[in-house]
């Protein structure tokens, strides 16, 4: 017999439930049923008749005649085959039928041979067993038609009796229901208790204590009623249950008490992120009131997010510079005349609001753009008149031209006339949308989470009965996995849930489940679910398999949380950090946008991404190279925009183009075939503008249709804004390098001309020494420019300047050079060059460098002080004794002038050689 495989008919849940509802199994014999089997044996002329009820694992006889056992396992059951029979099941010779030939009751005692079973079909149509007659000899002719009719009639009697029993039982329904309810509560409590223990989110229930104050009760302290194991891990507070937080953490900030007090008093659930300095951690906290209001109990779910906070801070630091740069160009100014209500505005102000540039607008036109729900923040005629409107405010507008939502901050100040009456308000507006995107994303996810929480307790739970392959699950869990919640409540096969797992994750998750089942182990994995509409959800599921005493898998309960937001937020944050790094390192527009497109493709799971240059006149997109997912073809090459619809018009206005489905979007509908032919159903195009002209395009393609969540769009916009800033930086940098190169070229040519003119003019002068000195100084100056050029005129390394100038006149071997690395300001570079040149000239003529073996020590240092000072030392050794010059020539005066003209110069002409020291304030020497 092949009954090792569970029979679907036998195990059909509705049928088993109906059998359960009859509550007849294992009850005492009843005359009504005994009479029926006695009649059956007589009418059919057989030795054996049974009222057989088939449950999931056995058949049990409510009444029997001629059969010793009161029940058998399903291997011995013939009645189970009657369950699916529409009428009588007749087997004339059990040894001849493949279903029963191997049945132990056939092959051994009591050697049954003939079987007829009448299905016991309830009013609901479900079959719970059979009324059967059995003989020990085969009966090829079966029952007579009369006997068959009688058997059917008797089966109907059995059903009537069974249902009658049920009806009688409803008398006790109230009591039974109550008993069951108590059982349910106990079961569900046990279930939640096990969740509570296994949850890796910190969880506690607290009881608030208040003291009375004039303004109402003030939260004074709270006591932990219950804490879970994760609570200890996340807070470091051991044995907290039953104790007051003021005792455990005396420095705990008052804001925690206020928040929980608020929840306890109002019943309003809150979610927030906050620091607990006394514990040195950041927490993401959800708190809600539990129990009766007067109990003042609050349940708190929380996670330690210190690591994530640190990452956010790093991100802000990396990004604040570009954001400031972007915002700097977006300040509009205005002046509001109190009497007329007219507002005089700058061009930038108009641009920020998407208004046509005009000098004056009525106030109402400007306030129209502000979202209705933010208008309450605005000043009123009264607050403008008495000056109480002076506070800076933030509000949202819909830009008049493109309807885009922007955040604006406004600051202003009143101007009063002689009488002290306010006549005008002068102020600035600034676009701070970028700053709000992350906060906005956070708010959306909060709403989503709190909804989920209210609906289902935010956690999905399951409990898998392995032996019967029944996975019982809560509504939240069922919905996440795309299983009908009603079905899941009654238990559904594991496969129904596995279907909901993302195909890419299904195999390995299946392996992990099997592993946990085999080893009675723990399961804790993050994986993706794929809904039928293509939505991907990230899940963190944690469970454990339990074996029975014989080591057989028994149950496998667990919990799952939706971590999509956190997962994507993490991925996006990581991606933005990486993007920041790459944008800093790249120096061509094409490489920048390519990098951005790849990062978008990675985060948004695209099939293709890349960058193209736009030739605006011909409306041609030239794609040098693109990134393609495995199996996706490249579209590198030239493409005519108009062949692909009209979205170029939006791009030319600098707008991001998002087409969910090329067959549905009006811009692409007519040319959808073109898109589909190159594997594009959904696309994002991000324009790159240069002086309001479309010059490039980042693109992300999807072969399948895809919906974007608001946070994903916010991500696309953030990436785009950063690329724009980076592109502007690269363009400015290229411009600067070009200008510097040209400037340096001209400067040095001019110096060469000056040198030439001087040489020609003074050709006839007999003493050529001064002309040579002049030429040399000119060259020293020119070298200083060279060094400056290397760092684009911003700063020059101290050491490079020293070496370059000293090497002009003699070998560097003659010098000992030492000093910290300092970046010289341009002015200081020129000054230092000329100074060193004069010192070297003198050393060669009269000092240490005039003899073999003489050396010069050149050293510089920074002396800390109220104002730090740069000190340059020049010490000649191994030459003749130094003598102060008799005549004060240009060279000597240059030396006395010192570093950057401070005249803080000390010259010591000693027998060992010249010792010179030059000092200047660091602020004048070092580049900022």
């Amino acid at each position: 017999m092949n009954t090792l495989i569970p029979d679907w008919t036998v195990c059909q849940p509705d049928r088993l439930a109906a059998l359960d509802a009859l509550a007849v199994l294992d009850t005492a014999a009843e005359p009504g049923f005994d009479d029926v089997v006695r009649l059956a044996t007589r009418l059919c002329d057989v030795p054996v008749a049974l009222v057989s009820l088939v449950s999931a694992d056995r058949q049990w006889f409510k009444a029997r005649i001629g059969f010793p056992a009161s029940e058998t396992d399903l291997d011995r059951s013939v009645c189970k085959f009657a369950l699916s029979a529409s009428d009588l099941l007749t087997i004339p010779d059990l040894t001849a039928d493949p279903r029963t030939a191997d049945n132990p009751l056939v092959t051994g005692e009591p050697h049954i041979r003939f079987y007829v079973g009448a299905p016991l079909r309830l009013e609901s149509g479900l079959v719970v067993g059979s009324l059967c007659v059995i003989d020990t000899v085969p009966r090829p002719e079966g029952l007579t038609p009369e006997q068959a009719d009688d058997l059917r009639a008797l089966a109907r009697q059995v059903v009537a009796q069974l249902e009658l029993r049920g009806a009688l039982r409803t008398r006790d329904a109230a009591i039974a229901a109550e008993i069951r309810l108590v059982g349910d509560v106990r079961r569900s409590e046990a279930r939640y208790r096990s969740l509570f223990e296994k949850l890796d989110t910190g969880f506690c229930v607290i009881e608030m204590r208040f003291h009375d104050a004039p303004g109402g009760p003030v939260a004074a302290d709270y006591r932990f009623l219950e804490v879970n194991p994760a609570f200890v891990e996340q807070t470091g507070l051991v044995d907290a249950a039953g104790r007051w937080i003021r005792d455990l953490a005396p420095d705990h900030e008052q804001h925690w008490f206020d928040l929980y007090g608020h929840v306890a008093l109002t019943g309003e659930a809150v979610r927030f992120e906050n620091a607990a300095a006394s514990l040195d951690r950041w927490y993401d906290v959800q708190a809600f009131r539990v129990g009766e209001p007067e109990e003042r109990r609050v349940a708190i779910l929380f996670n330690d997010i210190s690591a994530r906070r640190a990452a956010e801070v790093a991100l802000q630091a990396s990004d604040s510079r570009s954001r400031l740069a972007q915002e700097a160009g977006q300040v509009g100014t205005f002046e509001l005349d109190v009497a007329s209500g007219d507002i005089v505005v700058s061009a930038e102000y108009c641009r920020l609001h998407g208004l046509p540039v005009a000098p004056v607008y009525p106030l109402a036109v400007v306030t129209d753009a502000i979202l209705t729900e933010d208008r309450a923040k605005l000043s009123t005629a009264a607050s403008r008149a008495d000056g109480s409107a002076a506070e800076p405010i933030q509000y949202r507008i819909r830009r008049v031209d493109d309807g885009s939502l922007r955040w604006i901050t406004r600051q202003w100040q009143p101007t009063r006339d002689e009488a002290g009456t306010i006549v005008r308000w002068f102020g600035t507006v600034r676009d701070v949308t970028e700053r709000h995107i992350t906060q906005e994303t956070l708010r959306i996810s909060e709403e989503r989470l709190s909804l989920a929480f209210e609906a289902s307790g935010s956690l999905g739970w399951w409990d898998w009965d392995i032996r019967n392959d029944r996975l019982y699950a809560g509504e939240h869990f069922a919905r996440m996995y795309g299983v009908d919640p009603d079905l899941a409540a009654g238990g559904a096969p594991l496969d129904a849930f596995v279907e909901g797992i993302h195909p890419d994750d299904r195999d390995w998750v299946g392996d992990r489940i099997r592993q946990a089942v085999a080893t009675a182990g723990e399961f804790a994995e993050e994986y993706r679910l794929l809904a039928s509409d293509g939505t991907v959800t990230w899940i963190f599921a944690r469970g454990r398999c339990y074996h029975d005493a014989e080591g057989q898998p028994l149950r496998y309960p667990g919990v799952a949380t939706d971590i999509t937001e956190a997962k994507y937020a993490d991925l996006r944050q990581g991606a933005l950090l990486r993007l920041g790094d790459r944008l800093r390192d790249l120096d061509t527009v094409a490489a920048l946008v390519q990098a951005a497109a790849e990062i978008m493709a990675e985060i948004l799971g695209a099939s293709r991404a890349g960058y193209g240059l736009v030739e605006p006149l011909e409306e041609i997109l030239d794609i040098p190279t693109d990134w393609c997912a495995p199996g996706v073809g490249s579209i590198a090459g030239r493409h005519g925009f108009r062949d692909y619809g009209s979205h170029i018009d939006d791009l030319k206005r600098g707008e991001i183009v998002l087409i969910d489905d090329v067959e549905r979007d009006p811009r692409s509908r007519a040319t959808a075939d073109k898109f589909l032919a190159i594997g594009i159903r959904t696309l994002i195009n991000v324009p790159v503008m240069e002086r309001a002209r479309l010059v490039g395009l980042g693109f992300v393609h999807y072969a399948q249709g895809r919906n974007f969540r608001p946070d994903e769009l916010a991500f696309v916009r953030t990436v785009t804004d950063r690329v724009q800033v980076a592109v502007a930086r690269v363009q400015a940098e290229q411009q600067r390098v070009l200008l510097n190169g040209e400037l340096s070229h001209r400067l040095k040519n001019t110096l060469a001309m000056v040198q030439g003119i001087a040489g020609q003019t003074l050709r006839g002068v007999p003493d050529q020494a001064p002309i040579r000195a002049f030429t040399e100084r000119l060259i020293a100056l020119s070298r200083a420019h060279d060094v400056l050029m290397q760092d684009s005129w911003a700063a020059a390394p101290f050491l490079s300047v020293v070496e370059k100038v000293l090497a002009l006149q003699t070998s560097l071997d003659r010098f000992r050079i030492k000093g910290p690395s300092l970046a010289l300001a341009p002015q200081a570079t020129l000054s230092l060059s000329l100074l060193l040149h004069e010192l070297t000239t003198n050393a060669i003529k009269y000092g240490a460098l005039s003899v073999e073996g003489g050396m010069v020590h050149v050293a510089w240092r920074v002396e800390e002080g109220a104002e730090s000072t740069v000190v340059l030392e020049w010490r000649e050794r191994g030459g003749p004794p130094a003598v102060a010059p008799a005549r004060r020539g240009f060279g000597a005066r240059l030396i006395l002038t010192g570093l950057v003209g401070t005249r803080d110069t000390r010259l010591d002409y000693s027998d060992t050689g010249l010792d010179a020291e030059f000092r200047a304030p660091i602020s004048q020497v070092v580049a900022l």
Binding site: A752, M753, T775
Partner: protein, 125 residues
């Protein structure tokens, strides 16, 4: 050292008159005769006509149909024995200067420039 009756000939390529004067003087100071060309085209024409030019002094900033370093590379290619001294405002990538070429950036140290010319002409005689 060069013989007294016949001085080595140096071709000077420079389009800036004042620089031309200065460089001519320096070349003569080094003991050579100067042939002047104000454009690259004229310089090539001269090189094609004359066989006695030993050294070329060329300003890389000279504009013409063939620019700076390209001209230098072409001379090295077509007239391999000719030595080259190059000047310019911005120092070019050293690897792009033809073999044996010497570069002096503007404004130049006149003594060193004269020394370079002398080194080349004396090495050949």
């Amino acid at each position: 050292m060069a013989s007294t009756e016949r001085r080595p000939v140096v071709l000077l390529i420079e389009n800036e008159p004042i620089q031309m004067m200065v460089l001519s003087d320096l070349i003569e100071e080094a003991g050579c005769d100067v042939v002047e060309a104000t454009t690259a085209a004229k310089a090539i024409h001269i090189l094609e006509q004359r066989t006695d030019i030993r050294v070329v002094v060329a300003d890389l900033d000279v504009r013409g149909s063939v620019m700076g370093l390209q001209l230098a590379a072409m001379i090295r290619d077509r007239w391999p024995p000719i030595e080259m001294i190059l000047t310019g405002a911005v120092k070019p990538d050293l690897s792009s200067i033809p073999a044996r070429g010497v570069f002096h950036d503007k404004p130049f140290d006149q003594g060193k420039l004269v020394q370079s010319i002398r080194t080349f002409v004396s090495a050949e005689h």
